[in-house]
Symmetry: C2
Subunit: 262 residues, 2 copies
DNA sequence: CGGGAGGTTGACAATCGTCAATCAGAGTGG
DNA sequence: CCACTCTGATTGACGATTGTCAACCTCCCG
């Protein structure tokens, strides 16, 4: 219980924290961001933040809880293309593109802030540092999508899932939401399946195998404990470069977790 | 032979054309873009434009030819995450992110322009329309990655390949590089496999099946003719929304090819 | 004419999906 | 407190899409 939602004096604070992770902001940038007009909304699990095809009037920031971005294909299957956590601007693209090419749905209950799209854009162009921070955010997003394409396209089930567990581990820690070696998965095995291009049954089997191999422990179905982070990262072919973390954070879990580009 | 490379008086012209597709630029924006300092380089097929792990000094624009963005996974397999054509800024992300999280390799011989990264960034922040155009470009990129995640994660081989063929069709046409129903694939079946998360053998079989079903004809191995575009789009579960085309262009191939969001 | 890259094909293997049953845990009403 | 219910997790049997291996073919080019 060390980390709690702030008393909501500054609801948009998680967004500011996220934005200034990679791009320095000065005090006036920060207060301009915090002063953005917005409506806070409480959502339940499964509620939609954005529906595919929506014409966007707002950009939404996730203040607490978890959400996914997803697309539905012709035969009704779903693909989750990203998992969002606290502080992340969940549909920045809508601010400039207009029509949502995918849906955003809550994974758990949570709070979102809805910011009128023109306010976001205005601020981005009035304040170079803010604009730069948002652009960088967009680019890192892109990098993560590329890694997901790769994960799904060229890794087997075991590797895919180990990879996802490692990504979670680092991102949760970064968002201040848990220990990197011991966290609670905010999603069902079906949702894991939709994130990895597998079926729920196969996800189940793969998780059990990872557990049988001693790579993870699960006290409950969702509680993941990583015994040897480095070993899991090896199995998951996980290199954190695509997250574009700051130098210090890449190696925060285990001292060796650093760039390993060829 | 109606469309040829310009006499190189304005080498960056394809980039300008691409950028102003979705965001209006005025004459001064255009000339500022064309005046960007750059070096033009001729590359052969298989040459690398950027290598994974490179610290980027330049952003590269593809002036002619085709290139792919790709990642290599632990067991040596390759995943192609995007295919780039004329006018596209191939590594805009490097301008802001610094370390390349993936490689860019030429598919065919072609010309690239290398622009110092700080010049690109400077212009983006000096000229709102230019900045906006680039940001939109980044966002559309993201949208395409999401579609690829979905394509690879939740569609079968037949659907995946049909989808890719449709994407090609529209994009080639848009870049002024061919008829949408009759074009030359700039890639081998192995490269198609690396783009779709399949094996070359299976790509081959699937192409033959598409041909046997009368959905495509192939006069040579690479020359694709689409008999009924609409039918192929159906098979490929292809809806052009994710490309964020201008209203007119979405339906340019066949009158029905318009938004079909639920 | 020879070499090489890429395309094609068949036989076989295996990862992963489907189907369906059962189990476990949380919440609910009586 | 206890049936009841619902969602999600687990398991087994079986099937199929896709991968692997290896051979051969075809075209292009020096």
């Amino acid at each position: 219980m060390t980390t709690q939602d702030k008393p909501s004096a500054a609801p948009l604070e998680p967004m500011v924290r996220k934005l200034e992770y990679r791009q320095q902001l000065d005090a006036s940038d920060r207060s301009a961001l915090l002063a953005l007009p917005h409506k806070v909304k409480l959502l339940e699990a499964h509620d939609y933040v954005v529906r595919q095809g929506d014409r966007a009037e707002f950009s939404c920031v996730l203040l607490s809880g978890f959400a996914v971005r997803q697309k539905i294909v012709g035969n009704g299957y779903r693909q989750i293309v990203a998992i969002q956590m606290k502080g992340e601007i969940v549909d920045l693209q809508n601010s400039l593109l207009g029509i949502a090419d995918h849906a955003v749905q809550m994974l758990t209950a949570g709070k979102i802030a809805m910011i009128p799209r023109e306010e976001i854009v205005r601020l981005a162009f009035e304040r170079p540092a803010v604009g730069r921070a948002m652009w960088i955010d967009t680019l890192v997003d892109g990098s993560m999508f590329r890694e997901w394409v790769t994960n799904i396209g060229r890794r087997d089930a075991r590797t895919r899932i180990a990879h996802l567990l490692c990504e979670f581990s680092l991102r949760l820690k970064l968002a201040g939401l848990g220990e990197p070696t011991n966290y609670e998965l905010p999603m069902t095995q079906e949702q894991l399946a939709d994130s990895t291009g597998l079926t729920p049954v196969h996800v189940n089997r793969t998780l059990k195998m990872l557990e049988a191999d001693g790579l993870i422990q699960r006290t409950s179905a969702r509680a993941i404990t990583i015994g040897d982070w480095r070993k899991l990262a090896d199995v998951g072919d996980f290199q954190s470069g695509y997250l574009h973390l700051r130098p210090g954070d890449a190696g925060a879990v285990h001292s060796q977790e650093v760039g390993e580009f060829a």
